[in-house]
Amino acid sequence: MIEFLSGLGRSGLHWLAVLGRASTFLFRVLLAQDAVVRRFRLTLAEIYSVGVRSMLIIMVSGLFVGMVLGYQGYITLVNFGAAEALGGVVALSLVRELGPVVTALLFAGRAGSALTAEIGLMKTTEQLSAMEMMAVDPYRRVFAPRFFAGFLSMPLLAALFSAVGVMGGYIVGVGLLGVDSGSYFSQMQAVTDWREDVMSGVIKSIVFGFVVTWIAVFQGVDAEPTSEGISRATTQTVVVSALAVLGLDFILTGLMFGDM
C-alpha cells in the first residue's frame, strides 16, 4: 500500500517537475523571440523545413479527406432527399473540426517529431553546450526560430487543408455524384459563417500550432542524452501532442460553440 502511494507521489512529482521545466522553457523561448527578426535567415530555413516540406502531405490528406467527406455525406444525405446540402456538410466539418485537428495531428507526426529528434541530437552531441561555451544563446540561435516557424506554419497549413478539402468534396460531389455545382457552393455559403466557423477554426489551428511546437521543441531539450532517450522523446512528442490536441479541441469546441 505504502509502495503504491509512494509510486503515485513520485510520478505526480515527476510530471509536476516536467510541467515546471516546460513552462520556464516556454517563457525563455518567448523572451528570445526578437531573434526571429534579427536572424531572419535562420527563421526562413526553419519555416522551409517545418512548413513548406509539410505542404505536400497536408494537401494530399486534405484532398482525400474532402473526397471521403463528399462520398459519406452524400450517402447519408441522399436518404433524406437533401443531397444538395452536401456543400454545407463538407465545409462545416472541414473548417470547424477536421481542418485544424487532422492538420495538427499530421503536423505533430511530420514536423514535430523531426524537431524533437534534431534538437535531441544537438543536445546529445553537446552542440547546445558548445554554443553556450561560445556565448551563443541557444534560445536565440536554435529554439526561437523553430518555435516561431511552427507557430506560423500551422494556421497556414490548416487553411490549405480546409481549402483543398472543399475542392476534394467538390470533385466527388459535383464531378462524380452529380450534385448541382451552384447549390454545392450556395449551400456552403448559407451555412458557413465567416466569424463563427472559419475564424474559430483559425483560432483552433493557432492554438494547436503553439502547443504542438512547444511540446516538440521542449521534448527535444528535455530528452535524455542517449540514443534511447531521443527515440523515447520523439515518441513522446507524437503521443503527447496528439492527446493535447484532441483534449484541447474538445475544450475549445465547448467554449466556441457551447452556447449555440
Binding site: R41, L44, A45, I47, Y48, G51, V52, M55, A91, V95, L152, S153, P155, L156, L157, A159, L160, S162, A163, V164, V166, F185, M188, Q189, A190, T192, D193, W194, R195, D197, V198, V202
Partner: protein, 152 residues
C-alpha cells in the same frame, strides 16, 4: 540550401496559405454579408416563435434583407420579443408591415417573412412591427383537426 530557393519557397508557402484563407472567406463562407454591416433594428412580438433561431433570415418577397439579431422572452407581455437587424439600405418598409414566421420546406429552418403594408410612414430604428403571425405548431394543428373531426 541556396538562400534564393529558400526565400522563394517560403514566400510561395505563405502566399498559398493566405490564398487558402481568402478562398475560405470568399468562396466558402458568407463574408459578403459582413460588408454591409450597417443595419437598423426593429422589434416584433410573437406569441410563439416555434423553432426560430438567432441569425435566421429575415425576408421580403423571399429576398433576404436581414437577420434575427436577438430573441428574448418578455415577462410583461407574455410574448417572445424578437429583434430584427435589417440592412440600412432596405429602409422603405411601411409602418404596418406584417411579420410572420414561416418554415423553409417541410423540415427546413424557420425564418421571418415581412409583408409590406400600405402606410406612408416607414419603419425606423427601434420601431415595433405591430402585426405579427406566430409560427405554426404542428401539435396544435393536429389537435384542431382532431377536434374538428370528432365534432362532426
Amino acid at each position: 540550401m541556396k538562400l534564393r530557393f529558400l526565400e522563394v519557397s517560403v514566400g510561395v508557402f505563405v502566399l498559398l496559405g493566405i490564398a487558402a484563407l481568402f478562398y475560405l472567406a470568399i468562396q466558402v463562407s458568407n463574408i459578403a454579408e459582413y460588408r454591409d454591416r450597417d443595419t437598423y433594428h426593429v422589434v416584433a412580438y410573437f406569441d410563439h416563435i416555434g423553432g426560430l433561431k438567432v441569425r435566421a433570415p429575415v425576408t421580403v418577397s423571399g429576398v433576404r434583407i436581414g437577420r434575427v439579431a436577438q430573441i428574448v422572452y418578455d415577462p410583461e407581455r407574455f410574448q417572445a420579443r424578437v429583434t430584427l437587424a435589417i440592412q440600412a439600405g432596405q429602409d422603405y418598409l411601411p409602418a404596418d408591415t406584417q411579420a410572420s414566421i414561416f418554415t423553409a420546406g417541410l423540415l427546413g429552418e424557420q425564418y421571418i417573412a415581412l409583408e409590406p403594408g400600405g402606410d406612408y410612414e416607414m419603419l425606423a430604428d427601434g420601431d415595433e412591427v405591430l402585426f405579427t403571425q406566430s409560427a405554426l405548431v404542428l401539435e396544435n394543428m393536429i389537435g384542431r383537426v382532431l377536434t374538428n373531426i370528432s365534432g362532426d
